[in-house]
């Protein structure tokens, strides 16, 4: 009996070691792929950071209305955020290549599905980017307009508009990523409705005077001298 146990153990050890020996080249390939991708990512990050610094990327982003990106960036530098994102993509690509070499048959499906998901990720990122641009632009427009109208809740209004657009963009991006679409729809509805309700209440409770003035202005006779008013006031 002990002979049979010993034989079974020997066989399982042999099977394990044979299996391990079969996986070893793949494992080494994974490690090498990861090492190379780390090195490439490091070089790419340095080059990108220097390139972006040379064109004052951080300052330009500020001018283009993406000041809020600074808050989300490592060390408050959007250049670092961009360069690190690029580095992460290179490392991820190296990892996928390594995984594919590890066990071509079982991992090819994983790699395929990951690569198939990339267009969704890119689409979602584009939606977020465009949403962020529109949100910043509208928030600034509303803020300036509200201050000029002497509305004391100008900042609240501006923030409300900004978050409305951002919530919409995030919901669209998650929809694009196919992450819990049911929950996203529900959460979006609740958040969007909540922000609109807050804004309506905030504005309605404070803007009686504004509405009265606006109605009075509309009720006035339009001037016959209606050709490009501004230069008549100079």
């Amino acid at each position: 009996m002990w002979d049979q146990v010993k034989q079974a153990l020997d066989q399982s050890m042999t099977n394990f070691l044979t299996g391990l020996a079969h996986q070893l080249p793949g494992l080494v390939a994974l490690i090498v792929a990861l090492l190379i991708s780390f090195a490439l990512a490091w070089v790419l990050a340095i080059v990108m950071r220097r390139l972006l610094s040379s064109i004052d990327f951080d300052e330009r982003l500020n001018r283009w209305g993406f000041a809020s990106l600074r808050e989300w960036s490592p060390m408050n530098s959007p250049s670092r955020l961009v360069s690190r994102t690029a580095a992460c993509i290179v490392i991820l690509a190296g990892f996928l290549i390594g995984i594919a070499a590890f066990d071509a048959e079982s991992t090819s499906l994983l790699v395929q599905s990951v690569f198939g998901y990339i267009p969704n990720i890119v689409g979602a990122m584009l939606v977020l980017l465009i949403g962020s641009i529109i949100a910043s632009f509208l928030a600034r427009s509303v803020l300036i307009g509200a201050v000029n109208l002497n509305l004391h809740y100008a900042r609240l209004l501006s923030l409300g508009v900004k978050w409305l657009v951002i919530v919409l963009a995030v919901a669209m991006a998650l929809e694009h990523l196919k992450i819990a679409p049911g929950i996203v729809d529900l959460a979006f509805g609740i958040l969007f409705g909540g922000i609109v309700l807050t804004l309506v209440l905030g504005v309605a409770l404070n803007s009686k005077e504004l509405v009265t003035k606006s109605l009075e202005r509309d009720a006035k006779e339009p001037s016959a001298e209606n050709i490009e008013e501004p230069f008549r006031h100079v």
Binding site: N62, R63, G65, A67, F137, R140, S141, L143, I144, G145, V147, N148, L149, N150, L151, H152, A154, R155, S158, K213, R217, S223, A224, E225, I227, E228, E229, P230, F231, R232, H233, V234
Partner: protein, 413 residues
């Protein structure tokens, strides 16, 4: 005169009007009597020049004038057509360019744009505007309206001192809008606009007139036209006016940067006519509301102003915002620097240009409050003395502006 029974020029007669000595474009909301008075005045011009008067009329009809009068034709603006620029006259900019194009097409010696009504309807005021063009060969005849304390403040606070300081000519109302222009200057303006790409880089003809005339050393004069009737100012809707007017002025500054950086000092231009004063001041200011808007701007627009104004200016503004409404006072030096900083930010496109100019509104309102309060004090100086002092502040700050314009990154105090 039985005007209704007199026929208008027929289509054929209109087509035959292919040349003139003077083209007058009327954008002002004038009634029939005013137009007849104006035509009578023009008929009496020395030398009997052939005159075409274009009247903007949405239905395409002009007030009829005697057909036997061959020296003067009164046409609806749309009849000089098709419109030389193929665009409807929806803006004053288009109207100006159309007028200049008609002047060129008819080989007229000069043209004249009338866009205002005068408070004292003296019949000769149009002739005063035209006379230097035809008799003395001036290229630009700018109006000199009787100074008003509470009207035309955008001109008093920015346009006039800035034009005087940058281009070295003391033109009190450089943007008109009632102006006389020689054919030579009209050609230059049309050429400037043709060279610029259509769209945002195209400058406004009214904003280009004084700079082009000054930079090309053309003959400029002013005519005292009396008190102008201004449309009522909606102080709560100043941002769109600021945006459009300053946008045009700053765009022209960018185009003519090489010229104004060389200009030093200023000279007065010859003036014609008798200086007149305003019989009564109209308009009121809601000073407390204006100060509130300024304080709100200091509180909420920091992130925008921080991109445009240097820290020292922001510090001054914060200090001002903590004062009571009665104490708010914007020093001329600070105001001049603010205007220059916004002009620079406009050039650099630091932020969206429309946002930039609109965000200047609370600062403008603060200046208006401190200006009006100063004029209201007992034994106050006159409007002209006050604006003269402001102009000197602009001149003192010009080196600062030139330095920032040339080295925006390196020179940022």
């Amino acid at each position: 005169m039985e005007v209704d029974s007199i026929p208008q020029p027929t289509q054929e007669e209109r087509a035959q009007i292919d040349s003139a000595d003077l083209v007058v474009g009327i954008l002002a909301d004038l009634d029939r009597d005013d137009i007849f008075m104006l035509c009578d005045g023009l008929r009496n011009l020395a030398g009997s020049p052939r005159i075409v008067v274009l009247q903007r009329d949405p239905v395409g009809n002009a007030v009829a004038v005697p057909s036997q009068d061959t020296s003067l034709s009164l046409l609806p603006w749309s009849a000089v057509g098709p419109d030389p620029l193929g665009e409807p006259l929806q803006t004053m900019s288009l109207a100006c360019r159309s007028l200049f194009a008609v002047t060129e097409k008819m080989s007229a010696r000069a043209c004249c744009l009338l866009a205002s009504r005068m408070e004292s309807a003296a019949p000769g005021w149009v002739c005063q505007l035209v006379h230097p063009l035809l008799e003395s060969d001036f290229d630009l005849v700018a109006p000199y309206y009787a100074p008003s304390k509470l009207q035309g403040l955008l001109n008093s606070s920015i346009v006039y001192p800035l034009t005087r300081c940058l281009y070295g000519r003391k033109i009190h109302n450089p943007l008109g809008p009632d102006i006389g222009v020689s054919r030579r200057l009209a050609q230059k303006i049309l050429g400037t606009n043709r060279n610029a790409n259509a769209g945002p880089s195209q400058t406004h003809p009214l904003a280009s007139l004084a700079p082009v005339a000054a930079c090309d050393n053309l003959q400029i004069c002013e005519v005292h036209l009396g008190a102008r009737h201004y449309p009522p100012t909606d102080w709560m809707n100043m941002s769109s006016i600021l945006g459009q007017v300053l946008g045009a002025v700053f765009l022209e500054m960018e185009r003519s940067a090489a010229c104004w950086q060389r200009t030093r000092g200023f000279v007065s231009v010859p003036s014609h006519g008798e200086r007149q004063s305003r019989s009564q001041e109209t308009g009121t200011l809601e000073m407390n509301r204006m100060v509130e808007t300024f304080q709100l701007g200091v509180r909420d627009l920091q992130e925008i102003w921080g991109l445009v104004l240097p820290p020292a200016t922001l510090f001054e503004l914060r200090k001002m915002s903590r004062l009571t409404p009665e104490q708010v006072d914007m020093p001329d030096e600070l105001w001049a620097r603010i205007v220059y900083d916004f002009a620079l930010a406009h050039r650099l496109r630091t932020i969206n240009r429309d946002h930039l100019l609109r965000s200047m509104t609370p600062l403008f309102l603060a200046w208006v409050v401190s200006y009006a309060r100063e004029l209201d004090t007992v034994g106050a100086i006159t409007v002209e003395q006050r604006i003269e002092r402001l102009s000197l502040a602009y001149e003192a700050a010009k080196p600062y502006f030139i330095s920032r314009w040339r080295w925006p990154d390196r020179f940022n105090p």
